[in-house]
Every structure is written in structure tokens, then in C-alpha cells.
């Protein structure tokens, strides 16, 4: 009964989404406030409908109602509660329903929060959001309803893939989708602005909080996925340039570019057309990502819940929505007013260079992901692996990182490169020194690793320099600096944090890639191996019974120069429900570095005694790889909490906020 109720709510949500689009369009044409309000009400109702349907699906999973086809295919009675709930979005149908839930949720939020927007623009935004809701809900209702029953319910379900039974991955899709779908509001605002024919500083300011929120969620979502791959797939990698990863990375790059170009549009009225293009592009890449991942058109190490037939439908949705938005762009954008002037050396120029490099980076990822499809179509398949991205993406990002610290120190309109040099030489010296030290002292000697360290330190030191400049530390009395520091707008903190986080990430990634250590041996009990400076001894292996698996658990003692350091308990699990075997790794944290231990298969030695294949990795500074993006996302959220961001509130407090902001905005 509850499943049918959910289906009914889903169909109602579709009807409301259609009403939302229709009412809002008519509201804009007749300039009717009543119809606009009705459209906004429909947006809320549509969200409520999807929320009810989603709750019904969660209920079906929690109660293991195997008469629902989706539950039978993806759940199991013995699964822990967290993974029963997470199973809701573990399948194709469930994940699309989650997509719809978040899409209508953003629609409802935009309808409720966008009080400061001009009426026409807002009605068109709600209408576009309604149209998107209509398309995706129609797809859910007619082609991918997760609440359908089956005639003969099985006694036991098929269970969720054990690799997905993991806390990080349980919350990974909601974060990722909040990021993907958050771009829909930005998309709708862009479409609305194109129809209205007006893109100005105010538009950029309305776009910014939505772009920031979506970007922060996407950052966390991608990081969770990378962390999951790092400790669940069992070979210590965290990014494989795999199509599924690339699919999530492209909207992130576009959103990053948008966040920067929208600053230029907001402060200087320039780059309006380009910001619109990025706003449409970011959501297009989100949809492309959903299509690539869900259709199985690309081979990937982690494509779950794949369905080629419905992929075609998703491709049509992608083509129609993105195609019409880009057609609108091509038609209307040339008529938009050009913005303010700026000199070659200026903050505008720095931000434009940021955008050029990010656009090129996005192109790299896109071409690298889609090119194999083209070559396959003409009959000469080709593989594009990490090597390609190392040669294209890495230099682009290095160039971006090198210009990054200069950007915030340049003045708008006309900057002064000598002044920037005077402010940054300390940071440059520190970066160069660290790079040279890493090259000279760390063995084995790695030139690229050392270069990466120099770039990472440059970013971190650049972010600190920026803070020092804003507070005039060391030049005015400490009390004054402190007052300036506490008076900094949150937006400024957000930017500094985001840039600092990027530096931390670069440090971690380069140290890990440059100086990773690996060792593998077949060990009998008491046997040992060396990795990095550590000595690992296999002490015991014992059987352990889990909630829905049987396992063997090893106990490995770690020593360094004879001194005990820590111990790890990697295990090897067998899931009888699906018949899979999964390695559970053990991590030993040494500062920011990790000692990574994996228990492999059991074998027989020549004399018949049991031996186990033990693999261990020394991953220097690996924690920074995941800490960096977390700092970046925190920066995004800090910026989001800036009171200037809050729509509606912004006007009333504009005077109060403008004074300290204006004082801090221009670097001296």
C-alpha cells in the first residue's frame, strides 16, 4: 500500500511540476503576481510530492519489502540499517529519484528564498526549474519508477554490492547530487536572464550563492568518492582519471570557473555572456555526467547501476534541455551589453586567465573522456589513461597555480605588477626553498615531486600573504591588524580558505604521487616485510563473523627502528548473499602520512603451511589529499555565510555591510 501511495505522490509531483512551469510562464506574460505565487506554491508542492515518494521508498528498503522490484534487486534482510537506507539511492531508479528530490528541493528553495529578485526574472527562473522538474519526473514516472511491484516477491533480496556498503559511500551520492543538481538553479537563472535580456551585477550576485552552495557540495561529494576509492578498492589509489570520476569533475571545473567569472560580472559588469555560458555549461556537464554514469556508454572501474536502454532517454533529455539553453544563448547573448574596461595587468585579466585555463582543463577532461567513443565509432578504438592527463591537465593546473596568488593582490581595472612582486617575493622564496630542499634531501630524488611541493607551498604561502596584506600585519600595530582581521568580510575568508585548501591538496597529491612506497610478500605467521621506514610483522590471522559476511582478520604489528609504532587489522570478507570477496584495508596514521595494509588471498607454501599475500603502501601526506578539498568546501560555505550573499537581507543591511567591505576590498 505504501509503495502505491509513493507512486501516486510521484505522479502528483509531476503534475505539480507541469503546473509550476505553466503558471510561471503565464505569470511572466501577464505580469501577474497571483499566478507567480501559484507557480511558487506548485514548486513547493512538487517537492513535497517527491519527498513523500522518497520516504515511501526508504520505508520499503528499511522494512525489506521484497514485493517492490527495486528493493528485491538491491537489498537484503541481513544488511545493516545504514546500508538499507543507502540502498534507496544505490540503484539506477533510486538514484534518479534522489536526483528529482534534490532538483525539486532546490526549486522550492529558489522559489522561497529568491525574494529580492525582480518578479519577471524570478517567474522565469521558477518556470525553467519547473520544466527541468517535469522532464526528470516524467522520466522517473514513465521509465524508471523505483516503486513498482513484482508479481512473485522473492523470500530474500539480491543485496547491495558489498563495495558500496561503506559509510563514506552511503553519503557520497546525496552530496554529489546536491552539487550536480544545485547547478540547475544557476542554469535556470541563466535561462531566465537570457529571456529577460538583462545580465548585470545584480544577476551575478544572485547566481553566486547557488553556485557556491552547489560547488561546495560537489567538492565534498567528489572527495568522499575519492576517499572511498582510496580505502575500499584496496590499492591505495584515489583518482584514476576514470570516466565516472571525470564526469563529476567536469561540472566542478565549470562551477569553479563560474565562481570566478561571476566575480568580474558582479564587481565590474564584464564577462556577462561568458558567465551565462558557464552557468548553462555547469548543469549541462552535470546532466552529461548522469548520462555517462547511468547509461554505461563508457567502460569504467566503478560504474554501478547501469542501464543502456534508458541511457538513450537520458541522452534525449540532455540534448533537448542543454540544446535549447545553448540555442537561447546563441540567440540572445550577442545583444548583451559589454562590460567595463580593464588593462592587461589587472584583477580582471587574472580572472580571465583563470577562466581560460579552467576552460582548457575542462576541455582536457571532456576530450579525454569522450574521445575513445569517437575512435570506437570509426572502428579504431583507443584508450585514454592517466598518462594523457598527466601531459595535458597537469601543466594547465600548474600554470593556474602559478598565477593564482597574484590574482587577489592585483587591483581592479589597472594593476601594478611591481607592487604584486614586492608583496609576493617572500612567498616565492619560501616556495622555491621548499622545492629545492625536497629535491635535495628527500630520497629517492624526484624532480616532478619537488616541483609539485614548490607549487603547493607557493599556493599556501600566497594565501597567507593575501591575509597579511589585508590586515597589514607587521606594518601597523598588532592591535590594528587584529581589528582588521576580525573585520574581514566572510567572503574574503572564504576565498583565502579555498585557495589555501587547493595548496594543501597539491602538497598531498604531489607528495603521495612522488614518494609512494609499495611492498608485497607472501607471509606465514610471524613473517615480515619492509615498506618505507617501517617493518611489518604478520602476527595472527583469525576468523571473524560480520553482520552479513564472514571474514579472516589479520593482525599486523608495525615497528620503526625496533620501536613499536602501531598495529593494523586488515581483513578479507566474503559476502555469501552475492558471493563476492572484498578486502578491508587497515590504515595506520603517521602524522599526515598513511601506512596502508591489505590482506590478500590465503595460499599454501611449498611445505604445506598456510601463507597470506600481504600488501603494504607508504603514502606520504595522503591525509592532505582529502583535507585540502574539505578546506576548500569550508571556504565555499564561509563565503556563503557572508551576509552580502543572503538574498533579500542584502538590501536592508547593504549600507552596514558596504562600509567595511569597501575598506577591505581594495588592496593597498
Amino acid at each position: 500500500m505504501i509503495a502505491e501511495f509513493g507512486s501516486f505522490a510521484l505522479i502528483l509531483a509531476l503534475a505539480f511540476a507541469i503546473a509550476q512551469a505553466g503558471l510561471s510562464v503565464v505569470a511572466r506574460m501577464r505580469r501577474s503576481a497571483v499566478l507567480a505565487a501559484a507557480g511558487e506554491g506548485a514548486a513547493l508542492a512538487s517537492f513535497a510530492g517527491v519527498a513523500i515518494a522518497f520516504a515511501c521508498l526508504i520505508h520499503a528498503f528499511v522494512t525489506s519489502d521484497f514485493s517492490v522490484a527495486n528493493v528485491a534487486a538491491n537489498s537484503h534482510t541481513e544488511k545493516p540499517l545504514l546500508y538499507k537506507v543507502a540502498g534507496t539511492w544505490g540503484s539506477h531508479e533510486g538514484s534518479i529519484l534522489l536526483w528529482c528530490l534534490i532538483l525539486t528541493g532546490y526549486g522550492a528553495a529558489a522559489a522561497t528564498l529568491g525574494r529580492g529578485l525582480p518578479r519577471g526574472l524570478k517567474a522565469l527562473m521558477v518556470a525553467t526549474q519547473g520544466a527541468l522538474g517535469t522532464v526528470f519526473l516524467a522520466y522517473t514516472v514513465f521509465a524508471s519508477n523505483p516503486l513498482l511491484r513484482i508479481a512473485r516477491p522473492p523470500v530474500e533480496g539480491n543485496s547491495l554490492n558489498p563495495l558500496l556498503q561503506d559509510p563514506a559511500l552511503a553519503i557520497h551520492p546525496p552530496f554529489l547530487y546536491s552539487g550536480y543538481v544545485g547547478m540547475s538553479v544557476v542554469f535556470s537563472l541563466a535561462v531566465a536572464a537570457l529571456i529577460e535580456g538583462r545580465v548585470d551585477a545584480a544577476w551575478a550576485r544572485w547566481v553566486r550563492p547557488w553556485a557556491l552552495a552547489a560547488w561546495s557540495f560537489l567538492t565534498v561529494g567528489i572527495t568522499l568518492g575519492a576517499f572511498w576509492a582510496y580505502y575500499e578498492l584496496g590499492w591505495g589509489g584515489w583518482w584514476f582519471w576514470d570516466p565516472v570520476e571525470n564526469a563529476s569533475f567536469m561540472p566542478w571545473l565549470m562551477a569553479t570557473a563560474l565562481l570566478h567569472s561571476a566575480i568580474v560580472t558582479e564587481k565590474r559588469g564584464a564577462l556577462a555572456g561568458w558567465s551565462l555560458f558557464l552557468a548553462i555549461g555547469a548543469f549541462t556537464f552535470s546532466m552529461l555526467g548522469a548520462f555517462l554514469v547511468r547509461s554505461g556508454v563508457l567502460t569504467s572501474v566503478h560504474a554501478f547501476a547501469v542501464d543502456p536502454k534508458r541511457g538513450v532517454l537520458l541522452l534525449i533529455i540532455l540534448g533537448v534541455t542543454a540544446g535549447s539553453a545553448f540555442a537561447l544563448f546563441a540567440w540572445r547573448a550577442p545583444k548583451l551589453a559589454q562590460g567595463g574596461l580593464f588593462a592587461p595587468i589587472s584583477r580582471e585579466s587574472a580572472l580571465v586567465m583563470n577562466n581560460i585555463l579552467l576552460a582548457a582543463a575542462t576541455t582536457t577532461v571532456m576530450v579525454g573522456t569522450l574521445f575513445p567513443l569517437v575512435r570506437q565509432a570509426i572502428g579504431t578504438p583507443v584508450s585514454v589513461g592517466p598518462g594523457y592527463f598527466n601531459w595535458t591537465f597537469a601543466p594547465l593546473m600548474a600554470a593556474l597555480a602559478i598565477i593564482l596568488p597574484a590574482g587577489p593582490l592585483l587591483a581592479w581595472k589597472r594593476g601594478d605588477l611591481t607592487g604584486v612582486g614586492q608583496r609576493l617575493w617572500v612567498a616565492a622564496l619560501i616556495a622555491l626553498g621548499c622545492g629545492l630542499l625536497a629535491y635535495a634531501l628527500v630520497s629517492p630524488r624526484k624532480a616532478f615531486g619537488a616541483l609539485g611541493i614548490a607549487i603547493g607551498v607557493w599556493l599556501v604561502a600566497g594565501a597567507v600573504t593575501e591575509l597579511v596584506e589585508r590586515t597589514r600585519a607587521f606594518r601597523v600595530p598588532a592591535v590594528d591588524s587584529w581589528r582588521r582581521l576580525t573585520g574581514l568580510p566572510r567572503g574574503a575568508w572564504g576565498m583565502t580558505l579555498a585557495h589555501l585548501g587547493l595548496g594543501v591538496f597539491v602538497l598531498g597529491a604531489c607528495a603521495e604521487l612522488g614518494w609512494k612506497g609499495e611492498a608485497a610478500e607472501t607471509l606465514s605467521l610471524g613473517g615480515s616485510l619492509n615498506v618505507g621506514a617501517y617493518h611489518l610483522t604478520l602476527e595472527t590471522v583469525r576468523p571473524v563473523e560480520g553482520p552479513n559476511y564472514d571474514s579472516e582478520r589479520a593482525m599486523i604489528r608495525v615497528t620503526k627502528a625496533g620501536q613499536p609504532v602501531c598495529s593494523g587489522e586488515p581483513d578479507r570478507r566474503f559476502y555469501p548473499a552475492g558471493g563476492q570477496t572484498i578486502s578491508g584495508i587497515a590504515l595506520c596514521y603517521r602524522g599526515a602520512s598513511h601506512l596502508y595494509m591489505v590482506l590478500g588471498e590465503k595460499r599454501k607454501a611449498l611445505d604445506g603451511t598456510p601463507v597470506w599475500l600481504i600488501r603494504a603502501y607508504w603514502n606520504p601526506w595522503a591525509s592532505l589529499i582529502f583535507l585540502g578539498p574539505v578546506i576548500m568546501a569550508l571556504g565555499g560555505l564561509t563565503s556563503l555565510s557572508d551576509r552580502r550573499m543572503r538574498l533579500g537581507v542584502a538590501r536592508r543591511r547593504a549600507v552596514a555591510a558596504a562600509q567595511p567591505a569597501a575598506a577591505q576590498e581594495q588592496p593597498a
Partner: protein
Amino acid sequence: MRRLQALAAIFAGMLCLAAAADPADRLPDPAQEARARTIFQEVRCLVCQNESIDDSEAELAGDLRKVVREQVQAGRSDAEIKHFLTDRYGEFVLLTPVFSWMNLALWGGPFAVVILGAGLLFSRLRNRSTEAELSPDEAARVRALSETDPA
């Protein structure tokens, strides 16, 4: 059911990764073994889901590892080994595509975007700066006007 089979195939490829590290197959010379491992990372496991033979446990990956190790032991160069593989399996077997006209869009695309972007920025900066200043004709007219002005 086909979906389940597909998933099962994926798991089979994923279960026991970094298979190349298995001590049982290792070459006696550590330098040669390190070279073989570097090559493994560049060679695709043809039957797997986007994995190198360094990672994959699949039987074919094991066979390819054996072939590469033998060739490394026989003293053949990296280029020779890759050539041997592409002759047999086509370009698909290499994880880093070669520089060729076929791959022009792949290798040139990103840098074309950089050049295009830089060109647009440059032309905009130039147009605007000439726009802001007076053209020689206009300057001459201003001069003429201010000179003839008797005041």
C-alpha cells in the same frame, strides 16, 4: 539478469587489485622488475573495465604481464615492447594514446582552447584600448578645433 552478469564481471575485475605486485611472478632483478611495473601501468587490460594490467587480476592481464616481463628480461627496450603489443592488439592496448593525426583533437584540443582564449582576451584588450584613445583623425580634428577657437 544481464545486468547482474555485467556487474559480476566488474567485480571479478575489481576483487584483487594491484595484482602485479604478487611476489610469485616477480623478476629476480629489481631494476628490471621496476621497469616492467612502469610498462604495466601503461598497458590496458583488454577485457577489464578501464584498468591497467598492473592492477588487474584477470587471466589475460596475467598473460600480458608474463609477456612483458619476458621481454624486459630479454633486454628489449620500452618502445620495442610497446610496438610488439600494439602490433598484436592495436592502439587500444596503450593507456596513453600516441601522438598522431588521428589523435590531433585529443592532444591539440586543450591547447587550442588556451590559444583561442588568449587570442580573444588579447583582441578585447587591444580593441578597448584603441577605443578609449582617439584615432589619429579624431586627434587632428580636436587639435584643429582647439587651434581655430579664438577664445
